[in-house]
């Protein structure tokens, strides 16, 4: 393999690794020493070959090769710096209907209100509001903002309704959560069962002196637990509810299907399961640097290739 081929192989590798940071952000390995070392070696190889090509005897063609590699080096440096000194990935968990400041973006994130219809659909939104800029709705696709990208990730959530025997609704609180008075639980805790981790959360019903623990199982989890082949297959997620009184005494345990009322601990509980977004903010290379570097890399590469061909054609046409 020639030195030029090696340099271009490293260029393609470095560009691919850097672009990956924008397309699939917030991966731990962008900050790993292995990733950093590969990109640093690529920069070194490209720099040495670009320098030699610029100063070498290849003339205009050598300069075109050097320009192409300069574009790749710019991209690789952007990727390297993003991994080395970019901010840590931040996950912002917001209570539905609230505004949470996001210092990393200099913005406030508005987490849309949720109801028993929004949670199963999983279509609640997060909107960023920045001073001097219009509102920006963030979805699962990464959106570049300054030196970061922002995107949403769906996490298990549930809307909880509790009624007494008369059918009157009762207040729900989340004593151990920042979402103290929200009926939407975001499963901030977890429980391990047979080496697997399941989302867990707790609500209190102070008017009835009850505490209800809600353990979330996805449809796939429930299907995996099914032992009886004749039993109906699960049609959606479910939850195991266990109730205690304020003194910690057990008041019952039951399985609940999403959206179906069950009776536990003297209360009628409806848990509607689904998802609610969290906002993720991750370091990412500046898209303008990537776009500029790519234009330079591809443009100079095309220029070099057409220059090489026309040079070869001219050489062929010269009479011996």
């Amino acid at each position: 393999m020639s030195a030029r081929s090696t340099a271009f192989a490293f260029a393609v590798l470095a560009i691919a690794l850097t672009l990956t940071q924008d397309v699939f952000p917030a991966r731990d390995w962008y900050h790993s020493w292995q990733y950093t070392t590969i990109v640093a070696i690529a920069i070194g190889v490209m720099f040495v070959h670009a320098f030699r090509s610029w100063r070498g005897k290849a003339g205009a063609n050598g300069k075109r090769v050097a320009l192409a590699l300069a574009g790749a080096i710019a991209i690789a440096i952007a990727g390297l710096l993003s991994g080395l000194i970019g901010p840590d990935t931040v996950t912002v968990v917001g209570t539905p209907g609230t505004v949470t400041p996001v210092a990393e973006l200099g913005a406030a994130a508005f987490f849309a209100a949720a109801d028993p219809q929004t949670i199963p659909r999983g279509d609640a939104t997060v909107t960023l509001r920045r001073r001097g800029a219009g509102p920006l709705e963030i979805g699962p696709r990464p959106v570049p903002i300054g030196l970061s990208v922002a995107f949403t990730q769906s996490r298990p959530a549930a809307y909880v309704v509790v009624r007494n025997d008369r059918g009157d609704r009762l207040t729900i609180t989340q004593p151990n959560s920042p979402s103290f008075l929200s009926p939407v639980i975001l499963f901030r805790q977890s429980q391990e069962i047979h080496d697997r981790t399941f989302p867990l959360d707790t609500v209190a019903v102070p008017g009835a002196q009850r505490v209800i623990r809600i353990l979330y199982f996805s449809q796939a989890d429930l299907a995996a637990f099914r032992r009886d082949p004749d039993a109906p297959a699960p049609t959606g997620p479910g939850a195991v509810l266990s109730a205690t009184d304020d003194a910690g005494g057990q008041r019952g345990i039951t399985m609940a299907q999403s959206g179906t009322e069950v009776t536990i601990g003297g209360l009628h509980v409806t848990v509607t399961l689904g998802t609610y977004p969290v906002l993720q903010v991750a370091a990412a290379p500046q898209p303008y640097v990537l776009a500029g570097g790519l234009v330079l890399f591809l443009g100079a590469l095309a220029w070099w290739l057409t220059g090489s061909r026309s040079g070869a054609a001219a050489a062929e046409s010269v009479p011996a």
Binding site: P87, D88, V92, V93, T98, T100, V102, A113, F180
Partner: protein, 167 residues
């Protein structure tokens, strides 16, 4: 140079950290007031937005909450003495039925409007970390103060007096 970059700048990886919403109602000072239209005990609906231009005192409470009950007489006195000066008091019951809230209001002689927020939207949006919670909204529709915990009548007067005096 590359070696220095890798060994000198390498931070050991990017530990992920999480920011959880919350912080209590005090953090809302200066924020635009959130409004939801919800049922009113006795019929009809009401909202914060319907009272734009007035000083609005929101009080989030529930019938099972002892400090809320203790605070009610002070809130009722404040309403009776200051409504002629333009103070709007909205008691917003959190998560209970209209019948429950209405019965409580009748038994305790509450005459200011009681709204029923069965979905607990107001307390969630105003980041309540307990009950009762009081939120004062200025004439411009922005939050002036958010306070966690029960208040006395002198404390209520100290909160709304300067706002009512200012034109």
């Amino acid at each position: 140079m590359l070696g220095m970059l890798v060994t000198g700048c390498y931070s050991g990886g990017g530990p992920k950290h999480s920011v959880d919403g919350g912080g209590g109602p005090a953090m809302l000072t200066g924020a635009p007031a959130v409004s939801y239209t919800i049922p009113r005990v006795g019929g009809g609906t009401d909202s914060v937005a319907a009272h734009r231009g007035s000083i609005v005192l929101l009080n989030f409470w529930a019938t099972w909450c002892p400090p809320c009950k203790e605070e009610m007489p002070a809130l009722e006195s404040l309403y009776r003495s200051e409504r002629s000066r333009g103070l709007v008091v909205l008691g917003i019951d959190q998560g209970e039925s209209s019948a429950t809230a209405g019965k409580f209001a009748t038994e305790h002689g509450v005459t200011f409007p009681i709204l029923v927020d069965a979905d607990q939207q107001y307390a969630s949006s105003y980041v309540s970390i307990g009950l009762p919670t009081t939120v004062i909204i200025g004439r411009d529709g922005h939050v002036v103060r958010g306070i966690d915990g029960a208040q006395t009548l002198p404390q209520f007067r100290a909160l709304v007096g300067p706002l009512l005096a200012a034109k």
